[in-house]
């Protein structure tokens, strides 16, 4: 699914990422690496494998798009307790397989507590905003005078209703007039239902496909 924003073409990927061909850049938000590890550290028995699977999904995206750069839109590591040796080792191992990849990370609220990724991962960490016309990359979905904001933070999902009183809640990309929000990439993350304005464009992710949904399908408050 491609979309043109401020004259730039971008591709929405059902793996919960955006590809920007002109800059050969892959964008993902809210990876929350080590969330399960954080819970295990608190003696909550959550099985492992979520971060590794998320990394495998990133690898697939990188191969498929041949992106030369990855931009992480904040909340990269879930919490300080999530920096478990095993989790970091998995990320490092993944990093060596993509050694040539340039990775830029915009800090988010979780990153303040969790800290930047270890230097060995050679991820450039920046405070928001990062302006790359026509886009502004940041974690919080707020409007910017410098361009169209691409952000994360809210883990958007949309509640749909159709004929026969059908309902479905699906993670989504949500593009308002000046701000676009990506779905959370991490598989251990929850979602928050958003209630878009009528003129917004919303793309739901339904079993491996990105489908645009019109305002008439979206549940509204009251």
């Amino acid at each position: 699914m491609t979309l043109t924003l401020r004259g730039e073409e971008i591709t929405l990927l059902p793996e919960r990422a955006i590809y920007w061909p002109k800059a050969q850049t892959l964008l993902v938000a809210d990876t929350h690496w080590g969330k399960a590890a954080t819970m295990r550290a608190a003696a909550i028995p959550v099985p492992g494998g979520t971060t590794s699977d998320d990394l495998a999904r990133l690898t697939r995206l990188l191969c498929q798009t041949r992106a030369r750069r990855l931009v992480l839109l904040g909340d990269v590591i879930h919490a300080r307790q999530g920096r478990a040796p095993r989790t970091l080792a998995a990320v490092e191992e993944w990093r060596t397989r993509h050694a040539a990849l340039d990775i830029l990370m915009i800090r988010g609220n979780h990153d303040r507590g969790a800290g930047d990724p270890p230097p060995a991962l050679s991820i450039r960490c920046c405070n928001p905003p990062v302006v790359e016309a026509p886009f502004v990359f940041q974690h919080y979905p707020t409007e910017s005078p410098d361009g169209y904001t691409l952000a994360g933070h809210t883990h958007p999902a949309v509640k749909l209703h159709g004929k026969g009183r059908q309902r479905a809640t699906l993670p989504c990309f949500h593009f308002a007039a000046r701000v676009g929000v990506l779905p959370a990439f991490g598989s251990m993350t929850g979602v928050a239902v958003v209630y878009p304005r009528r003129e917004d464009r919303v793309f739901a992710i339904a079993e491996g496909e990105v489908v645009e949904v019109g305002a008439e399908l979206i549940c509204r408050l009251n």
Binding site: A41, V46, P47, Q81, R86, G162, K163
Partner: protein
């Protein structure tokens, strides 16, 4: 030969103009002989003294020691009942001058009292299952309970059938092992399966207990307020207050009236309606439900006892507990739902000699009149509902094992033997037991690769909890078997009003008005798990909808309803309620038909929303929930189709964008009872019931927890929804027995408890009547307007979204 009753006891009774009942003497005698048992009778018939005076007589005839160590443990299901129980138990102690200390121990107990109890326990202690569980984590607990003589479990029917009941069973097993001389007596309302109830209480392998029947209930009068004009009386909805004028008249007739409702929202609504109609009653009417602050409830209960209140609008929060003698009129708003429940509520009135109990039902829609007629039939036939104990829930066992590990630790074999002495876990397998041990120590098979994980640790063959954070979190969450995430509601000025579900508060925006505790409140903000509010005069507020408020019609009552409809089909309308509802039933016959006992009615209609199918098994909501998923799944295997479903106590609806091939489906065995064991899990999977069921399991097993005031960031970082965990476990740890439990609980709830198989047997041998409607019939109307739905689909999700889009554009 029965033991003699000591003189002071006889005098205690004589001073009140009473004589000990035969059943009380029977219990005192059985207690002296060392027997355990269960006493069942209606509330307010002397069960308390039957249990309580046994150990007092024993003391009088025995040592007569002053202030002996803990002898009697009184377990009550509700914290709200503790104070009343304490008062009732204190009376004979004071009057008979018995030097015993009687105290209670709950979450509300003052720190100073707790400190005193830390040094020495009273002779008799009143507590709840949750507080007792915490108490058992004390390392010196075996010593404290050594001289225990009697454990009383009050309102056992209320605990039986829930995981709190299983928690109580585990506690009893532990106490019995420490104090083999202790006897167990349960107090219960009458159920359909008293023998099972007693066996569950006394534990597996216990000697035969004594089942004692209390005073046989006085006659009960069940009647109904009838709508003035049936033509204008609604066919659906339980929130209407159409009957307000008749209710006001009834309240005026009585001295003190209890108005029972089925949900807390109804309580708030009726309170508002009554107060608006009779503003001069301000101060004489009150509201009472389980979400209200204890102080408010105490104030109301005191008013009831003193007879200063004209009317209290309440929920099941006033079903239990001590008597309110001044109450002379009881109203039941909406469906009675069950026979036992109605009798319990009726028993709240008429505590004066020679006055029968009376309950007056107030219908909120037409068909509830049929239920009133039916419930009277069921009472006459003695068709009381049964409650079934929960079998080996592993989430609760995980919680319990951590609890024991905190309280000084355990050895595996010893604890297994103790657990197997409960009825709930008597059949637990070695494999299940080892899974639970593995789960609480190493986190289970899936966490084998994480040696740093530890919740419970093993030291020299003993299982212990060493981590202080694990301990703290466990102690904070142990009381949360039943409660969902709730938030305190407080005035900005500080006073606490009660609590509501977080999901309700989440829908409010600052400045919104809502009704709670009978007051109009403006929502200001949320901070520290508290919703801060201020009073307002605005009157257009919304009323909180609490979860879990939709109770199913019992199968006993559902059967009685089917009989009444069968009569109506034959033109027989016995009694005022059936006469009153007659026009609606005749409309049903006119638009469609009234099904006879051997007929299964299916109605079909097309509206702008799509194609509707309505099925009417009349088996109660619980059965219909399973049936609707099964039917939808079976039809969806014939053709790609998406159903949305709704159900009520009479039937269920399948709604689809396209016409469903119902005739074809019936030919292909839609109603066949065979293949159920495979079909049910498949259909329920699709309907995500197991995923929902996992919510409670995850909470009990300590995987998720509700927040608590003052929680810090480190706790918030650990929050994950149970649905997400369910998915993660399903993917990475499919052998997890808690997942299996979720599926099993759903299956059991559908298959056994609700007798889905028997229902299908009955339906498949019925004559199927498919009626095409020109307009909605009175029976289908409530389903048509119901907005809470489940879904089943055999279409790909992306296709569904595309089709939804295509249709919206068309």
């Amino acid at each position: 030969m029965p033991a003699a009753i000591p003189k002071p006891i006889r005098q205690f009774f004589a001073q009140r103009g009473w004589k000990p009942f035969a059943f009380q003497k029977e219990v005192w005698d059985a207690y002296q002989r060392g027997d355990s048992g269960l006493i069942h009778a209606a509330t307010g018939t002397g069960k308390t003294y039957a249990a309580w005076l046994g150990p007092i007589i024993e003391w009088m005839q025995g040592d007569g020691e002053a202030n002996p160590p803990l002898r009697v443990l009184w377990i009550t299901p509700l914290r709200a009942l503790v104070a009343d129980t304490e008062n009732a138990l204190q009376l004979p102690l004071t009057e008979l001058n018995i030097p015993w200390r009687l105290e209670s121990r709950t979450g509300d107990t003052k720190a100073s009292v707790k400190a005193k109890q830390q040094k020495r326990l009273p002779t008799a202690l009143v507590t709840t299952p949750e507080s007792l569980a915490l108490f058992l984590t004390r390392e010196d607990a075996p010593e404290l309970f050594r001289d225990l003589r009697l454990i009383i479990v009050d309102e056992w029917h209320e605990l039986l059938g829930s995981k709190r009941g299983v928690q109580t069973e585990l506690e009893l097993a532990r106490l019995r092992r420490w104090s083999p001389q202790a006897r167990t007596w349960g107090l219960s309302a009458t159920l359909g399966n008293m023998t099972t109830a007693m066996a569950t209480l006394l534990g597996a392998g216990a000697p035969q207990g004594r089942l004692v029947r209390g005073v046989v209930p006085k006659s009960v009068v069940i009647d109904a307020l009838l709508p003035a004009e049936m033509e204008r009386f609604p066919w659906a909805g339980h929130l209407g207050v159409n009957m307000l004028p008749q209710v006001l008249t009834a309240i005026e007739e009585g001295q003190t009236t209890l108005v029972f409702t089925n949900t807390r929202s109804q309580t708030e609504m009726w309170y508002q309606a009554i107060l608006e109609a009779r503003p001069e009653w301000a101060g004489q009417i009150a509201i009472h439900h389980g979400s209200l602050e204890r102080k408010i409830r105490d104030f109301v209960e005191d008013g009831l006892r003193a007879g200063t209140l004209r009317c209290v609008v309440c929920t099941s929060s006033l079903d239990l507990g001590v008597d309110f003698t001044p109450v002379d009129r009881v109203l039941q708003i909406g469906s009675p739902k069950g026979v036992a429940r109605l009798l319990q509520r009726a028993g709240r009135s008429g505590h004066r000699p020679g006055v029968p109990s009376r309950i007056t039902c107030v219908p909120t829609h037409a068909f509830e009149l049929v239920e009133v007629a039916a419930v009277r039939d069921a009472v006459i036939a003695g068709a009381i509902e049964s409650r079934y104990p929960v079998e080996r829930p592993l989430d609760l066992l995980s919680q319990w094992v951590v609890n024991i590990a905190i309280g000084g630790g355990f050895e595996a074999d010893e604890l297994l033997a103790e657990i197997r002495s409960t009825n709930a876990y008597k059949d637990i397998t070695e494999a299940e037991w080892h899974w639970v041990l593995d789960f609480v120590t190493r986190g289970g098979e899936a966490l084998r690769a994480y040696p740093e994980f530890h919740r419970v640790v093993q030291r020299d063959g003993r299982y212990l909890v060493e981590d202080r954070m694990v301990r703290r979190r466990h102690l904070l969450s142990i009381g949360t078997i039943v409660s969902d995430a709730s938030m305190d509601v407080r005035y900005l000025t500080g006073g606490r009003l009660g609590s509501v579900e977080e999901s309700f508060i989440a829908r409010l925006r600052p400045g919104d008005t809502f009704h709670f505790a009978g007051k109009a409140l403006e929502f200001v903000r949320i901070r520290e798990m508290t919703a801060w509010v201020r009073k307002t005069t605005a009157n257009d507020g919304i009323i909180p909808r609490w979860d879990g408020s939709r109770m199913p019609l019992s199968s006993e009552l559902a059967a009685a309803v089917r009989n009444r409809l069968d009569e109506a089909r034959n033109g027989i309308f016995r009694g005022p309620e059936m006469q009153s509802v007659r026009p609606v039933l005749e409309t049903q016959a006119d638009f469609s038909m009234i099904p006879a006992r051997e007929q299964f009615l299916i109605e079909r209609v097309r509206t702008s929303e799509g194609h509707h199918l309505f099925f009417y098994p009349f088996e109660g909501r619980l059965v219909h929930e399973g049936l609707e998923a099964l039917m939808a799944w079976r039809i969806s295997r014939l053709t790609p189709i998406t159903f949305s479903m709704s159900c009520n106590d009479y039937g269920f609806e399948l709604l689809a964008p396209d016409a469903a091939p119902i005739e074809l489906a019936i030919e292909h065995g839609l109603l066949s009872p065979s293949g159920l064991v495979d079909d049910i899990p498949a259909s329920l999977n699709a309907a995500e019931m197991a995923r929902r069921q996992f919510r409670e399991i995850a909470r009990v097993a300590g995987l998720t927890f509700t927040g608590y005031p003052g929680q810090n960031k480190s706790v918030r970082q650990l929050q994950a929804s149970s649905g997400l965990l369910f998915d993660v476990f399903t993917r990475y740890d499919s052998g997890n027995l808690l997942l299996h439990q979720a599926h099993r609980e759903v299956l059991e709830r559908q298959l056994e408890r609700s007798r889905l198989g028997q229902t299908l047997e009955r339906l498949s041998s019925s004559k199927i009547e498919i009626v095409d409607l020109e307009r909605p019939s009175p029976l289908c109307f409530p389903l048509l307007v119901d907005r809470t739905r489940n879904r089943v689909s055999s279409e790909k999700l992306a296709d569904r979204v595309r089709r939804m889009r295509a249709r919206a554009e068309a």
